[in-house]
Amino acid sequence: MPDSTPSTADVEERLRGLLDRCAAGDSTALQPLYELAAPLLFGCLTRILRRRALAEEALQDVFVSIWQRAAQFSAVRGKPMAWMVSIARYRAIDLLRHERTAPILVAELPEQATHEGSAEELPGWLPGSALLERCLQLLTEHQRRCLELAFVGGSSHEDISRLTGNPLGTVKSWIRRGLRSLRQCLES
C-alpha cells in the first residue's frame, strides 16, 4: 500500500532544504515552505492567541521573521520545525503582552475546537521523542500539566494558577521543579 503520509524525517529534510534556499535569498523557496509549515504554525498561534484575526496578523509576522532569519538557522543546523514553532510561540507570547484583555481561559482546552481534518491525516510534523516521553513520566501529574499548559497554550504562571485553582507560588514551584527534573533526565 503506498503511504502518502510523509515521515517526520522526510518533512524535516524538505524544510531544511527550503530554509537553506531562503538563507541564500531564493524567494521561490518561501511559498513551498509556507505551504508545508503554515498550517501547523497557524494552529499554534490560534491556540495561544484565541483570536483568529490576531493569529492571522501573527502568522504574517512569523513568515517575515523566518525569511529574514533563515541564514541564522542555516548556520546553526538545528531542527527546522522546532525553530519555526519557537518563532511562532514567542511572537504569540509577545502579542499577548500587548493585548489589553486577558486570554480566554477555559478549564479544559478545547482539543477539537479547531480540529480540521482527523488526526490520522496529519503528516509526521513533529519529531516524536521517546526520551522526552520517558522523562515526562518522572514528573508529577501537576508538574506535567503545568508544563503542557504553558508550552502549548501559552499560559502564564497567573493563567495556570487561575486555570487549575492552585496558588501562584505553588504553580511557580511545580514548573521550576518540573523543569529541573526534566533537565536532569534529558541530560543523563
Binding site: E56, R89, Q112, A119, L132, H157
Partner: protein, 227 residues
Amino acid sequence: MTPENPLLVDQLAAEYVLGTLRGPARRRFERWRISSPLVAQRCLFWEEHLIPLARELRPIQPPPHLWQSIRRRLNLTPPRSRTRPAYALAIAASVLMVVILGVVVYWSTTRPGTLSEVATISAPAGAAAWRVEIYAERGQMIVHAGQLPPHPANRDFELWALPTGGSPVSLGVLPVGGTARRELSEAQRQALSHATQIAVTVEPTGGSPTGQPTSTPIFVVPLRAVS
C-alpha cells in the same frame, strides 16, 4: 543578571522557552540571548527538547489571502503568470475531478475504518522508527517503518502490547521497510484494549520462540487514543 552562572542561565532559558518568563525579565533575557553564546545554546537545548509537547497541536489551514499579504510585505514578485485560455482551465478542472474521485474511491476501499490508537516509536535523536496505528473497530493494525535503529544480524524487531496487570502479548515482527497491514487476533485485541504502552524487543529471526520477550525492550512508548 549574574553573567553565566550555568544553573541560573539554564533555569531562565527553560522558563523563557516554556513561555512563563514574562514582562521586562523576558525582554532582558532576549537581549542576553543575542549577546551570550551560552544563553543561546541553552535556549536551543530547550527548544529542541520541549518541541514534542507541541504534538497535541492541530494544524489549521490559514485563509488564502494571508500568503498574498506576506508576499507584499516582503516585496516578493509574484511568479509570472500567463493568461490561460478558458479551455485549459476546463481541462484542469476535469483532471482535478478525476483525481478527487480516484482518491475518494481509493480511500473508501483501502482505508481500514477509524483510527483508534496510535504510537510513534522514535529514537532519542528524534526520527520516527515506526508509526503504529490501531484500527480497533476492524481489528487491524498498520505499521509504517521509518528510520530504523541498527539492525542486528539474525535478529528481528518484535512489537508487544503491554496490557495493564498482564503479560506482554506479541503483535508480531516489525517491518524493516514500507508499510505492513495486519489483522489482529482476539488475544491481541484484548491485550491492546487494556494497554497504554507498547514495547519493542530484539528477538531471534521470526520472533521470540517462547511467546514472551527474551530481551529488555529497546523502546517502550505510550499508545495514544485518538479521539
